[in-house]
């Protein structure tokens, strides 16, 4: 029993890590008034590029770095279209996601051949757990929190750090001002463009890592559309958390718990009957996110200027 519970909770934290990293990036961007749907595509590209570079270099750290790079490039491209040229954020975001799906599908086959072999190509070395000496030996807490990849530790530093920057510094105040009313921010001498681009670059880094963790840490391969809507889930988690990093983490925890449970149900082959097919389990986390949104979503107030293009008129 002890092992099942600890295993489930450790899996929850492992699944939570990429999702929370992506959601944190999205939260920062949305606080600046930009709704970046292309986080889904950034993750997918991150997963793909990390896999390819790791496949050829056998070094997952190069994989992570290249995923970060491609994430930043995509986020900045999104920024050029939506922040600089003030195009519709929803349309650009959706288009980029469709492009990401098609492009990764295409390049994967261009590299590994046009048929999908029975055994898909995989990488030998992946990002593995880095137990923290001492701490990882503590019963219960140790295996759950201190026997994870370095990115989990990074996440648990970034969440409170983001909270502090958002609410306790001038930078955070100015970033939030851009998200509430970019015209006012601009009038008062806050460089709206700068804040939005920096936020996007941060999201690119975090989204790239999040995608890479899927392909070269949790699995050792790349699968078509392997993000499977996790980017959208990240956006839902930002909304659910009321654009607050701490509350967002709670929501992510709930979601990751359900997903970990779902994986376990699948693996254990429990009651996979006609009325409870494994596809139902696959649907569960999305269903939970939707129900949570219906229950709490109406009371949440987001950044006022979210998703509204800002054009400077002088």
């Amino acid at each position: 029993m002890y092992e099942i519970v600890v295993g489930q909770l450790a899996a929850t934290v492992r699944i939570l890590t990429p999702l929370a990293l992506a959601a944190l990036g999205e939260l920062i961007v949305e606080r600046s008034g930009v709704l970046n749907l292309s986080i889904e595509g950034i993750m997918l590209f991150g997963a793909f590029v990390a896999f390819i570079t790791t496949f050829y270099t056998d070094n997952p750290w190069i994989g992570i770095l290249s995923a970060m790079g491609v994430g930043v490039l995509l986020a900045l491209f999104f920024g050029i279209l939506t922040v600089l040229l003030a195009l519709d954020q929803i349309i650009v975001g959706l288009s980029m996601n469709i492009l990401a799906m098609g492009a990764t599908f295409f390049f994967y086959r261009a590299i590994f051949g046009w048929y999908v072999s029975p055994v898909p190509p995989h990488v030998e070395t992946i990002i593995t757990e880095m137990p923290i000496p001492g701490l990882s030996m503590i019963p219960v807490i140790g295996p759950i929190f201190f026997n994870q990849t370095v990115f989990t530790y990074l996440l648990f530093i970034l969440i409170p750090l983001t909270y502090i920057v958002l609410y306790k510094t001038r930078i955070g105040l100015h970033l939030r001002a851009c998200g509430e009313d970019p015209l006012v921010a601009d009038y008062l001498g806050i460089n709206v463009y700068k804040y939005r681009f920096i936020a996007l670059a941060i999201e690119g880094v975090l989204g790239g890592i999040a995608g890479a963790l899927l392909s070269i840490s949790q699995y050792n391969m790349f699968l078509d559309n392997m993000t499977a809507g996790r980017g959208y889930i990240a956006i839902a988690l930002v909304i659910l958390g009321g654009w607050d990093p701490l509350k967002m983490l709670l929501g992510t925890l709930l979601y990751a718990f359900v997903e970990a449970l779902q994986l376990r149900i699948q693996a254990a082959g429990v009651v996979v009957t006609a009325w409870f097919p494994y596809q139902f389990a696959l649907m569960l986390p999305y269903l939970v996110a939707l129900i949570a949104l219906i229950l709490f979503g109406r009371r949440i107030r987001g950044p006022k200027a979210l998703a509204k293009p800002y054009r400077r008129v002088r």
Binding site: K168, T169, R170, I171, G172, L173, H174, R176, A177, E180, D181, L183, V184, A185, D186, Y187, L188, G189, I190, R299, R301, K304, V313, R314
Partner: protein, 517 residues
């Protein structure tokens, strides 16, 4: 004019300012304007005369196409409002530049200009103390911890002024600052402005109200259609009539002829009983409101913006859910009935948000004109529109209501604000309304359009219509109304049956909630 720009007495000299908007509208044509140290200078003109454009250029919000600006003897070229504030020039815009969800202190320090503290870390406690102190010193006390969205308009304006002072502005531009204030608040604002001027600050007071320009300013510059038509160095030497002529460009011939009191209290048109309505945030905005409208009267609803007026109007017109209480129109209960039902009872609505709620901007003039009757003969039969009768009706309406438009098929977005309002009036008043809900019907319009609308409303009142007039402009309420109801905190706190006997200070106190019955 001899080299004003190098004179020590003139803090601002603008020469030959021209601004053409992308659409081709010339907002400013070769304007000269100057401001002396320590004076209050009124920039007077109708809506659309180019006052705001000129001042936005001075405050760095807009770039001029032509012209030179000198500040304190130095030639300047502002690329942003920050450039202007660094030279001491700040502006209080008509639409406040505050962030509603932030506190007073956060709004004041936003942008990081002015004040003692620098650096990344925000020590809000110290900042709040500093700002409370600063506000008190300037005779404009405020609670720095309050959220802007919770403050009444008068205090929001105070925050704007405080922020300019905090940013060390000594040239203050106020754009129509009295339009949202009660008479009592206007008096206080004038005192504050005079005090600031006596301390050496220079103030541009932008207004379209003659009385205000005459009572507060040391000098007046009059703008009309983007040009300076007069400079008055001694406001005491000019009569109000002469000034009005300068502003409008012709003699005002029109006078509304209001027949004697004709409403009778035996047959109410609309009765509102114990009404409760929530606002967007789910907070009670209308609490136990009672109000009765009689035929043949204009009932003015006076109140500071944000006291439930919007929610009340939306409840009457069927656009917002009523939580409790009832609305009875012509003997029929209309509480929570769909808007169409209420429209068909003869309720017309002239909304404040003309372009958002009043018209569909992409649709043509003709389509907007029949928007409420498109499913009735002769405009359509069995779901098919009858374009011939639509266009002939539209042409008639355009003539009758003086709508200036290239054709009936022109998309409404190409019309000016005044013409959009005429279009809305044409639609709302063409089908024999029994009740008219008029929300800020003349806000932002020039004198000619305002007169036209006032005359229409009075004509309808004379013919037995009941009109509920919601206006932030006290002068308009007093001019048109037969009775005045004061709304505060979602309740009617006072009803005046005789408009001529209203004491303005007492009215202000009711509006501000200082006094209740």
């Amino acid at each position: 004019m001899v080299h004003l720009e190098s004179s020590k007495d003139y803090v601002v000299v603008m020469k030959g300012i021209t601004k053409v908007y992308p659409g081709g509208v010339v907002a400013n044509r070769n304007i000269d304007f100057d401001l002396k140290r320590g004076e209050i200078h009124a920039l007077l003109g109708e809506n659309g005369a180019g006052k705001t454009t000129l001042m936005k250029i001075l405050a760095g919000c807009l770039l001029p196409d032509k012209g030179e600006i000198y500040v304190k003897g130095e030639r300047v070229k502002f690329r942003s409002p920050v450039d202007a504030i660094k030279k001491g020039i700040g502006m209080v815009h008509q639409h406040f530049t505050l962030i509603p969800s932030f506190t007073v202190a956060e709004n004041i320090i936003l942008g990081g200009i002015g004040g003692k503290r620098e650096g990344i870390k925000l020590d809000m406690k110290a900042i709040e103390e500093e700002i409370a102190e600063f506000a008190k010193k300037h005779g404009l006390p405020i609670n720095p911890k309050a959220r802007i969205e919770e403050l009444p308009v008068g205090l929001k304006q105070r925050v704007e002024i405080l922020r300019l002072l905090y940013r060390k502005a000594d040239i203050l531009i106020l754009d129509e600052p009295t339009s949202v204030l009660t008479p009592l608040e206007v008096k206080e604002l004038f005192e504050a402005l005079k005090r600031m001027a006596s301390e050496g600050k220079s103030i541009v007071f932008v207004t379209h109200k003659l009385d205000e320009a005459l009572s507060i300013s040391d000098r007046i510059t009059v703008l009309r259609k983007g040009e300076v038509v007069a400079r008055i160095d001694n406001p005491k030497s000019i009569s109000k009539e002469k000034l009005a002529e300068l502003v409008v460009g012709r003699k005002i011939v029109y006078k509304a002829v209001k027949t004697k009191t004709l409403y009778d209290k035996t047959t109410p048109l609309m009765e509102i009983r114990n009404l409760k309505v929530l606002d967007d945030r789910g907070v009670l905005a209308v609490r136990n409101l009672n109000l009765t409208l009689y035929p043949g009267e204009i009932l003015g609803l006076a109140g500071v913006e944000g006291n439930g007026q919007r929610e009340l109007v939306e409840a009457i017109t069927g656009l917002r859910r009523v939580e409790e209480g009832e609305i009875v129109i012509l003997g029929k209960k209309v509480t929570n009935k769909p808007p169409k039902y209420i429209i068909e009872l003869g309720v017309s609505y002239i909304p404040e948000d003309r372009t958002g709620r009043g018209v569909a901007l992409e649709l043509s003039v003709a389509e907007n004109l029949i928007a409420k009757v498109h499913d009735k003969t002769p405009f359509s039969r069995r779901g098919i529109l009858n374009l011939k009768s639509i266009y002939s009706f539209a042409k008639e309406a355009i003539e009758k209501f003086n709508i200036v438009t290239p054709s009936v098929k022109t998309p409404t977005m190409y019309l000016s604000g005044g013409n959009i309002q005429r279009l809305i009036l044409a639609r709302e008043l063409s089908f024999k309304p029994k009740i008219i809900i008029a929300e800020q019907p003349t806000a932002g319009l020039d004198v000619a359009a305002t007169e036209f609308i006032h005359k229409l409303l009075i004509d309808f009142r004379n013919s037995g219509c009941g009109i509920l007039l919601i206006s932030a402009d006290i002068d308009e309420i007093l001019k048109l109304s037969d009775r005045v109801a004061v709304i505060y905190g979602g309740r009617i706190v006072k009803v005046y049956d005789e408009v001529s006997r209203i004491d303005l200070i007492e009215l202000s106190k009711y509006m501000l909630g200082v006094k209740t019955e």
